[in-house]
């Protein structure tokens, strides 16, 4: 919760006056908060250059007069919408990368329909991502591409990279990506194979619904939502705070259902088998060993990540076979890593600087 910055230097009488003014502003803006619709998000100009089923590929309009040769493709986690990369002007990783001179493409996921319940890990990593990379190559005219994967998008990027060692990948950036799934804390506990019947869930539901996924995230921090609302009320006078709060709230509520087969494989092979970590994972008939990844790799992880705890993401660099590899541990949590104040100050510049040196 932000404190009353600026008013702290004032005498007590003035501080009380300021607080009264804020209370009035809270009442007026509170009404607006209740009756107005969610803020617009994902406003940076873009084109959809490819779409198929659950898959969307965006190309953002360049903002620099001269761009780096190698295009950048961001891969969103399969549970959420990609506009967290582009929440609002000034709070947008996409906008930042565009201004820094990158040609930016983003993979977004729509809700999979019941007919897409059979989509599996191999569809995402051996069909969707390679197809998008091909489209990016055609669109940019460049033979190679840098991948940036967030959370489960990072896992998909890792599997792609390990399964396409002869592919056109130039650099790989992972953002808070789980590798050692046995360190996934409560998520691992709740999905203990002794109690958690993944087959029954998938066979009954087909597509694992939003409420199921959202409940899992919410239960990790049950008091967070209420506390955030109280903080939003406290900062109701502050338009920037309220806008940011509402954008994040909208994003977290727009959780995406998961294709059943994909959910089943994630549970069996990653959560229970921990095969990404042990190197035993097989996808589309190929061995997925992170040691086979030799392109430059950067991993940005959050110190206080409650969804992907540090011990789950930390082993990534030691598992990949690359010699050019870099890890950045930042303060903040799972979401603030990519769109919070720490992201603006540290993560985006760190990723941009690292990629810039490797994108010519």
């Amino acid at each position: 919760m932000s404190s009353t910055a600026g008013s702290e230097q004032l005498p007590l009488g003035d501080r009380v006056r300021a607080e009264v003014n804020r209370t009035i502003a809270r009442s007026i803006k509170g009404l607006d908060f209740v009756i107005s619709s969610d803020p617009d998000v994902g406003l940076t100009p873009k084109d959809i250059i490819y779409e198929r089923g659950t898959l969307r590929l965006y190309h953002y309009h360049p903002m620099a007069d001269e761009v780096y040769r190698v295009p950048v493709l961001l891969v969103m986690a399969t549970t959420n919408r990609s506009y967290v990369f582009d929440l609002a002007p000034g709070q947008s990783m996409v906008e930042y990368l565009l201004r820094e001179g990158f040609d930016v493409f983003v993979i977004d996921w729509e809700k999979p329909g019941p007919e897409e319940r059979h989509l599996d890990l191999d569809d995402y990593t051996f069909d969707f991502i390679p197809t998008c990379i091909r489209r990016v190559a055609e669109h940019s005219g460049e033979p190679d591409v840098s991948l940036i994967g967030y959370c489960m998008g990072g896992v998909l990027s890792l599997i792609y990279a390990a399964g396409h060692t002869d592919g056109p990948l130039k650099n790989l950036v992972c953002l808070t990506t789980p590798v050692n799934w046995h360190e996934m804390g409560l998520m691992r506990r709740w999905t203990d194979p002794n109690h958690f019947d993944v087959d029954r869930i998938v066979d009954t539901l087909g597509v694992v619904p939003t409420e199921f996924i959202l409940a899992g995230f919410t239960m990790l921090r049950p008091a967070q939502r209420t506390a955030s609302r109280i903080r939003a009320w406290d900062n109701m006078w502050n338009d920037a705070y309220v806008r940011s709060y509402r954008s994040f709230d909208r994003w977290s509520n727009e959780t995406i259902p998961l294709a059943g087969a994909y959910f089943r494989t994630t549970m069996r092979d990653l959560m229970w088998g921990n095969k990404l970590h042990t190197g035993e994972l097989r996808v589309a008939g190929r061995s997925i060993d992170l040691a086979n990844i030799t392109v430059p790799v950067m991993h940005a992880i959050a110190e206080h990540d409650h969804i992907v705890p540090l011990p789950a993401s930390k082993p990534l660099l030691e598992r990949v076979g690359s010699t050019d590899k870099n890890e950045v541990v930042l303060k903040g949590g799972h979401v603030s890593l990519i769109a919070g104040p720490s992201a603006v100050r540290r993560m985006w510049p760190a990723v941009s600087n690292w990629l810039a040196e490797r994108s010519t």
Binding site: G53, V67, D103, S140, R200
Partner: protein, 129 residues
């Protein structure tokens, strides 16, 4: 501002209270939800819900069959056929592009957009970094 001044703001105490409350609730909840018993109870409840849902789905499908209407499963199977066709089309599109490229007929045209010649700050001579 000294710490004593800060403590004069009544809302600061309220803010601290909210922070402490959140930490305490999350801490207690995580302890409880981290037990084997909780995990077992949660999954039992879930199984019960799924069983009920399956029963409802089966009853609804039987009812729709009786009145000669397609069930959700029938519609999904139809959509799956369309999706399979879509996928086949996408694969054919890629193959066709490969053929055109290999025969020279699909040579890409000159691309618009800014030149792709940007250099990293460390290599830009004469420019402030």
């Amino acid at each position: 501002m000294s710490k004593q001044d800060a403590s004069n703001d009544p809302l600061d105490s309220l803010r601290k209270l909210v922070d402490d409350w959140e930490k305490r609730i999350d801490g207690v909840a995580n302890k409880v939800m981290g037990t084997d018993g909780f995990s077992q109870a949660m999954n039992q409840t879930q199984k019960l819900g799924l069983r009920m849902q399956q029963g409802f789905q089966d009853a609804m499908a039987a009812h729709l069959k009786n009145i000669n209407m397609p069930s959700r499963g029938d519609v999904t199977r139809l959509a799956e056929s369309v999706q399979a066709l879509n996928q086949r089309m996408a694969r054919m599109e890629l193959l066709l592009e490969d053929v055109l490229r290999n025969t020279g007929a699909g040579t890409p045209t000159a691309r618009s957009g800014p030149p792709r010649t940007r250099q990293p700050p460390s290599q830009r001579k004469g420019e402030p970094t």
